[in-house]
């Protein structure tokens, strides 16, 4: 299978490209990137060819593309890739507006190509283990969720609202809303959010807390921020607690690690040894394309989680809960 990569603006592009290298029968046939220097560097790193023009790139013989551009460019790239009949794995969030997300989904349907949204947390083994427990009825009915996704300020275009569409709340809400939807099979019907900025003196949000209600009455909290700083032993966290009528289970997705103490400015560091969820996400996408099956994470999944994140901003601005 031949796969191309469109933009390395998002740092996940590197781990996805690493994942492609590990899959037999898959060839990374080329890289398109508006940032020529970044594209050429990636091309050298992954031993493939650089194409400076997007239209020319999409004429390349290949089955699928992985899009890791700035968030506001997802739409343009997805529409063009879909028109060129390429299957698509797009980095999250799917888009910066609900309307764009819907247009992207529609374009992929009309062109008969797969649109998968990159939510690698679904491939984290502890997260999958809890999914299995829920499906097996070990937790009983779900009463509530408690989730966190907090990391460091990525800087660059992430803190430019025009390009990112939002800060930490957009960046770090969609993953866990997707997991809650996946676990419960329910949709969020109400969003209350407080969104603020005070960790980094930047013109975009870097912290938010969300309170959610699902259609069937499940309640949830979510803490999204770029509150971690360099001295913290790891880049951040991904946690979920599911409160069920039979039992409550807490998952720390990054718990599989050594605590490593070393000299220097960062004396404690977490060294992970759990599965690489980015790589497993890419393997799943390749399998979907190969077998021509529906993607495990659809454009609709991307749309629904985006709606929640955007509603948190609206809630904070209007100081009231938003019904979806």
């Amino acid at each position: 299978m031949k796969i191309g990569m469109m933009s390395f603006a998002h740092m996940h592009a590197y781990s996805y490209a690493d994942g492609l290298k590990d899959i037999s029968g898959v060839e990374l046939v080329g890289i398109f990137d508006d940032d020529r220097a970044r594209g050429l560097k990636a091309t050298e790193q992954y031993h493939t060819k650089y194409v400076a023009n997007q239209s020319d790139f999409l004429k390349t013989e290949m089955d699928a593309v992985i899009i890791c551009s700035e968030n506001n460019r997802h739409k343009e790239m997805v529409l063009k890739a879909a028109a060129a009949k390429k299957h698509i794995l797009v980095e999250k969030p799917i888009a910066t507006t609900v309307e764009d997300a819907k247009e992207m989904i529609r374009a992929c349907e009309e062109n008969g190509v797969i649109l998968q949204v990159a939510y690698p947390v679904r491939f984290n083994n502890p997260i999958q283990q809890l999914k299995q427990m829920i499906d097996d009825g070990e937790l009983g009915e779900i009463v509530a969720f408690r989730t966190t996704n907090r990391g460091q300020n990525p800087g660059g275009w992430f803190i430019d609202k025009e390009q990112s569409g939002g800060g930490a709340v957009l960046d770090h809400t969609v993953h866990m809303v997707d997991i809650m939807r996946w676990y419960s099979g329910e949709e969020v019907c109400e969003v209350h959010g407080i969104v603020d900025s005070y960790f980094h003196n930047i013109d975009i949000d870097d912290a938010g807390i969300l309170t959610l209600e699902f259609d069937n009455g499940i309640t949830a909290t979510h803490d999204a921020s770029w509150s971690k700083f360099n001295a913290y032993p790891t880049w951040g966290d991904i946690t979920i607690e599911v409160i069920g009528t039979k039992q409550t289970v807490h998952v720390d997705a990054l718990k599989e690690h050594y605590r490593m103490y070393i000299g220097g400015t960062k004396p404690l560091k977490h060294v992970p040894f759990g599965n690489n969820m980015d790589v497993d996400l890419v393997k799943d996408f390749v399998a979907c394309v190969e077998q021509n099956k529906n993607p495990s994470i659809t454009g609709y999944d991307g749309l629904k989680s985006l709606e929640v994140a955007l509603a948190a901003y609206e809630s904070s601005e209007k100081n009231k809960a938003i019904r979806l």
Partner: protein, 222 residues
């Protein structure tokens, strides 16, 4: 007058003799002889106190050493900015009184919230879960969560600017037994602390607790 502390003996550290101040610990408020003693009662039993004079109320959270330390660190900042997350799981409670007193303690640390929003699960379904979102303004926001379930546990997190505090009573256990049923030492209180951090049952206290109860019922939107 003798000091009489009403408490679950399992939640007290082993120090009945406290710095020369002798206190008697009773588990049942009904055994107390009013008028002869200074009485120290958890706020959850406030409604059962028959005589307000010489009666004092204490808040569990305020007496835990881990919270005292958090208050010291967070309170050291002039205007603390950050995200405060607090979660209590409790085996027993009456009318959310533990949640009310936790809110009283937390608002004493951060001030009156500009807005508050509470969400509850169906109280006919167990476990019962309550989420309280608090916006204190000036860059401080909080989630307070309360679950009525089959264990006692407290988690506290403060994500401030270049300062992170993390506490989980299930993890901060100096003593680990095979069945894990021993009460975490982190959730035990010194009797001396109760004597020092209690409030007379007066109008000021009653008004404050009523304010917290109303916040949980109606929310706040200023």
């Amino acid at each position: 007058m003798a000091n009489v502390i009403i408490a679950d003996p399992d939640m007290l550290k082993f120090d009945n003799q406290i710095y020369g101040q002798e206190a008697v610990v009773l588990s049942n408020l009904h055994k107390v002889k009013y008028g002869e003693n200074n009485i120290y009662v958890p706020s959850s039993l406030l409604a059962d106190v028959q005589e307000k004079e010489n009666s004092n109320i204490y808040f569990e959270l305020e007496n835990y050493p881990f919270f005292e330390k958090a208050r010291e660190i967070i309170g050291a900042q002039n205007k603390p900015k950050g995200v405060f997350r607090y979660r209590r799981i409790t085996k027993t409670d009456k009318d959310e009184s533990l949640l009310v007193e936790d809110i009283a303690v937390i608002t004493a640390l951060f001030g009156d919230p500009k807005s508050a929003y509470a969400k509850r699960t169906d109280n006919h379904v167990k476990p019962y879960h309550v989420i309280v979102t608090l916006n204190f303004g000036n860059g401080t926001m909080a989630h307070v969560e309360y679950t009525l379930a089959n264990k006692n546990q407290i988690e506290l997190e403060w994500n401030g600017i270049e300062q992170i505090l993390e506490f989980n009573s299930d993890e901060m256990r100096p003593l680990i037994s095979e069945d894990n049923k021993t009460t975490s030492l982190s959730l035990k209180i010194q009797a001396a602390s109760i004597l020092n951090k209690s409030y007379p049952v007066d109008q000021k206290l009653l008004v404050n607790l009523e304010k917290c109860r109303k916040l949980l019922k109606d929310g706040v939107n200023r």
